[in-house]
């Protein structure tokens, strides 16, 4: 089972990026293998609009069925839900801390976006 985390770094010690769409990287952790890979998300840093939509497609492509991030807006949430990906929001400081919370059942699956969308 794969879990995706938004991050600005490249390792488990890196901070968890609280933004979903405009996080520079997505760390995908494989619970079964105990290993991870890092996927680039920087094409979104300068996107005029729809960064969350792009990021959601990037997560879907990794095969992860769970996403742990700081906040998630309505358009990204819609794409993630359509892709069957469960979303969890947390204030964990690092990826490893967020992973630990996920493992221990400390995260609750989000039922909706927790922040408002952006106008064009």
């Amino acid at each position: 089972m794969k879990i995706a985390f938004t991050t600005s770094g490249e390792s488990l010690d890196a901070s968890l990026d609280t933004r979903f769409g405009r996080a520079p990287r997505i760390l995908v952790y494989d619970l079964d293998a105990g290993s991870f890979e890092v996927v680039d998300n920087t094409q979104n840093l300068n996107a005029p609009q729809g960064a969350g939509i792009q990021a959601a497609q990037n997560v879907a492509r990794t095969g992860a069925m769970h996403l742990v991030t700081g906040h998630c807006g309505p358009k990204a949430f819609k794409v993630l839900t359509a892709a069957g990906i469960a979303v969890y929001t947390t204030d964990a400081a690092t990826v490893s801390e967020a992973l630990e919370r996920f493992r221990s059942g400390g995260l609750t699956r989000a039922q909706s976006a927790d922040v408002e969308g952006h106008w064009v």
Binding site: A47, P48, Q49, G50, A51, I53, Q54, A56, Q57, A60, K75, K78, V79, A82, A83, W119, V120
Partner: protein
């Protein structure tokens, strides 16, 4: 002749200039309210409603049965208006600019287009003035398609006066583009001057002939006048700071009707504008 009235700063008197200029124009004239987020010319030009039409733009719709999730559509879309997943594509109509590119690149022809309502256009007739007013729907963020629909109503046989939205961004560009003359309305205040500089940069970038109307002269300082002199920007009209003008405005009355002594100012503006147009035409020929 197509004249656009823009400003940079909001509240400087675009509608005042547009509507009063239309009123004194000696021949049939079109007044086009391109400030589609908050059209207000109709408050001053009261006419009978002649027509009311819906403005739409073309947006994609995806036939899920035909979509193979290849991702060509989302890879093409600059605006991230379409998301491609394994076996479906999600459309975000509010982000779509209506280019139609996704329908062209879809290899399975799963994408077709449909109309999305974004606003409406009303035409009102008031004497020699034909008022064309665009109004964007609540919740729609992109004004330029509605503005272009308003400009599609321009009658080449008449003079057209376009009342632009404030600012210097896309809706203003969409309004002033392809017009023969831009009138920039400003006020003699630091804010007025600051935004006038931006507006001058904008029209110069677009290569359009322009001049300035200074409203509420006497309320501020001389810096706008100095700027115009130093930059060689013609001052087409100066409207004094007169409380009675604001009072007439607040009653929905045109300055040239309520305060007869100001009629001459706008007749003068009309002659200046017509003269500028003639001169511009002559210069065009000189270039050839």
């Amino acid at each position: 002749m197509i004249i656009s009235v823009a400003s940079g700063k909001g509240g400087t008197g675009k509608t005042t200039v547009s509507a009063n200029l239309a009123r004194v124009w000696p021949s049939p004239v079109q007044l086009l309210d391109c400030d589609v987020e908050e059209p207000n010319c109709h408050l001053f030009i009261k006419g009978g409603l002649k027509s009311q039409d819906v403005v739409s733009m073309r947006v994609p719709q995806v036939d899920a049965a035909l979509c193979n999730g290849c991702g060509a559509c989302s890879a093409l879309c600059e605006f991230n208006a379409i998301a491609s997943l394994k076996d479906e594509a999600l459309v975000f109509e509010e982000l779509c600019h209506g280019c139609g590119g996704c329908t062209l690149v879809c290899p399975t022809r799963a994408i077709t287009e449909k109309d999305r309502r974004i606003g409406e256009i009303e035409v009102m007739e008031a004497g020699h003035i034909s008022l064309v007013q665009g109004r964007i729907d609540v919740g729609v963020a992109m004004a330029p398609p509605v503005i272009r629909a308003v400009k599609d109503r321009i009658d080449p046989g008449k003079t057209a006066i376009l009342d632009a939205p404030p600012g210097t961004s896309c809706p203003v560009i969409a309004t002033v583009k392809d017009t023969d003359l831009v009138i920039l309305v400003t006020e003699p205040t630091p804010f007025g001057l600051h935004d006038l500089r931006l507006a001058c940069d904008m029209v110069r970038e677009l290569g359009l002939p322009f001049g300035v109307v200074i409203n509420r002269v006497g309320a501020g300082d001389e810096r706008v006048h100095v700027f115009c002199r130093d930059e060689g920007v013609p001052i087409l009209l100066e409207i004094p700071d007169d409380r009675r003008i604001a009072e007439a405005y607040s009653r929905g009355e045109l300055m040239v009707d309520a305060l007869g002594e100001y009629r001459g100012l706008f007749e003068g503006l009309m002659h200046t504008v017509q003269g500028l147009r003639t001169r511009t035409r002559r210069e065009d020929h000189a270039d050839l």
